[in-house]
Amino acid sequence: MNTDPTIAMRIRSLGKSYSIQHQEASRSSGSLKQNKRTPWWRSFQNLQSAERFREETFWALSDIDFDVPRGKVFGVIGSNGAGKSTLLKILSRITDPTTGTAEIHGRVGSLLEVGTGFHPELSGRENIYLNGTLLGMRRREIKAVFDEIVDFAEVERFIDTPVKRYSSGMYVRLAFAVAAHLRPEILIIDEVLAVGDIGFQKKCLGKMQDVTGEGRTVLFVSHSLSTVNSLCEQCLLLENGRVKRIGPTAEVTNAFFDASNGTGGGSQLDFTKNPQGDEIASLLTAKLIDREGNPISHAMIDAEFGIEMTYEIKNVDQPVVPNLHFYQAGTCAFVTSPAVLPELRPGIYKAVAWLPARLLNEGNYNINIAASTMNPPQAHFHLQDSFRFQVIEDIHDPSRQGYSQKIPGVVRPFLDWTVTTTQP
């Protein structure tokens, strides 16, 4: 057992397997069952439905080793299905690991969701106590911070009203306020900061930083690279259930970005050999192009550029609308689709969306490319997490006024400013 006082959590060869059941002859069912000894009552299930099951073991996590230093904010990142949630569930003791151990030194509070156990019929006061005790607080601890929680959530006047009468903003604030006042030594947080308005999010981030300021350890799991970058000193990158990299956050997030760029994605995609789509429409190519229509590997911030897609429509009875979903660091910046479409006819189409100069900020963008019919709304192809490009800017650009740091934001439009003196 670990006696090093600088380590808050020690995780050794942790693994978790599930057995996936396939129903033979029919389509595979995605039912996940924990891989333990087959309990006796499971045999009924097989008798009862005379179908054969083929079991396959799936390791959601394997050979996970890392230490979380005491008093630091430690991030866990990875793409969907990398095992982040499973790791979180094991560390917060919701589910058991199949192999390995995790030693946690100190009282743990885990926050996989805000407002767990909130009941609409109960008053704000009752919910604070119920939720607080669920999160592992004692009644007197809640009593001690009760007024702070109510202040933080700004719900003084409604504290004895059933929360079903709350606006959704109030509800979220109250749920968050309870969580923010949790004072365990080790806090395990999932992507819960993604709710609430911006002002309140900042307040919560501030509160979280207070938490570590007081020497507490935070394990933070997130899709949001920017949040991880701004909060965590160290980071763990998971890939397919294994540790890909551990280290300072900047290094790990870069590795993550490179890795996801390396997986067949890019700014020039060609699917003519295996078109992506269904019997209505399929995607053939997607390209980043300059004003003249030449393929380019990256865009400059001060030049117009286009996203060109070619797709085949095989079978139409209603308009097939191409659409592009622009993402940065997992957040959707905007979605665009053409306002006018040509007449309906099967064939191969080319669509180009032109992005004016100085619309997107510098940085890495990811575009999901789709085509949909609207009645009923249905996507015929939807290419996700593959089309990527970078917008590059010369830091000596005069519009930066000599500022050399990264300017935040997903877009950076050139706006019409008027600057005049009011006093001669």
């Binding site: 009282r107 156990g117 019929e121 009752e126 607080m137």
Partner: protein, 289 residues
């Protein structure tokens, strides 16, 4: 003021610094669990409070329902079986005989009825947060206890109204109620955990409780049972439970030693089996639910 609170909290944290949680596969038995349950007693309290409050929120009659639920069937059975059917009641008022039966039976059947779906019903909690899982079925039973105690009070008023003087055997009454509740708890644990895996249990429970009720002297007296069937009948653990409780309140014929033995055996078996099954599959709830 605030700093004082923070200091207080920090002190608690320092006290807990030595807390080490070891997470590993298949924790079979752990001595920490009882300690942990005690640590989470406030949660048990608030979940129970939620259970009780939600039962009567937005009702006009509130606690009156708790009395009506046993009283109305008691009156109906007293008229049907007592007046029309002239079934034996050991010389006691038929109404009281049924009422005592319903009160004692209620601890068991309401526990199972409300508790067997509790784990599935609280799946959002089980899949999002850790706490000793047993708190969920325990909390679901809390409202049964509250309702049951109200029923007991109503019953005592009713016995005084009928002019029945409580005897020394009244001391035994709490033990029988406790036995009913514990047997209910054991079956609840069993049913609630199996229900997570197979929802068939949810369909089975109401029907099984109904059948069990018929085989238990709740709305009739066991003196109705012919001699040659009495041995078999007495093997039902709830027979001793009901007859014992009835005797402790109303006097008259006490439960036979055989009835009391089956009751004790049934009690032990249900609690042990319930705990064992619950513990054995507890860790898998979050994966299956």
């Amino acid at each position: 003021m605030n700093t004082a609170k923070t200091r207080d909290n920090d002190q608690q944290i320092r006290q807990r610094r030595d807390t080490v949680t070891l997470i590993q596969s298949k924790r079979r038995i752990s001595p920490f669990e009882l300690k942990e349950l005690i640590e989470y007693r406030d949660l048990l309290y608030f979940l129970s409070l939620r259970e009780v409050k939600l039962r009567y929120k937005q009702t006009n009659l509130g606690v009156v329902w708790v009395i009506l639920q046993p009283l109305v069937p008691a009156i109906i059975f007293a008229i049907l079986f007592g007046n029309f059917g002239r079934l034996p009641s050991n010389g006691q008022p038929y109404l009281l005989m049924v009422f005592t039966g319903i009160v004692a039976w209620g601890f068991l059947s309401n526990s199972v009825g409300r508790g067997s779906g509790s784990l599935v019903g609280n799946s959002n909690l089980l899949s999002k947060i850790y706490f000793p899982r047993i708190i969920i079925p325990l909390a679901s039973i809390s409202s049964v206890v509250v309702d049951g105690l109200v029923g007991v009070c109503a019953m005592l008023v009713l016995t005084l109204f009928f002019g029945i003087k409580p005897g020394v055997h009244l001391i035994a009454a709490p033990f029988f109620l406790m036995a009913s509740l514990l047997m209910g708890l054991g079956i609840t644990l069993l049913a609630a955990s199996l229900n997570v895996y197979r929802r068939d249990i949810g369909h089975l429970v109401p029907f099984a409780l109904q059948a069990w009720n018929y085989m238990t002297p709740v709305v009739y007296s066991s003196s109705l049972i012919p001699k040659k069937w009495l041995f078999l009948y007495s093997l039902n653990p709830t027979v001793g439970l009901i007859e014992g409780f009835r005797w402790s309140i109303l006097g008259g014929e006490p439960a036979t030693p055989l009835m009391l033995t089956s009751m004790t055996v049934g009690l032990i078996v249900s609690v042990v089996a319930g705990m064992a099954v619950f513990k054995n599959i507890e860790r898998g709830f979050a994966d299956i639910i």
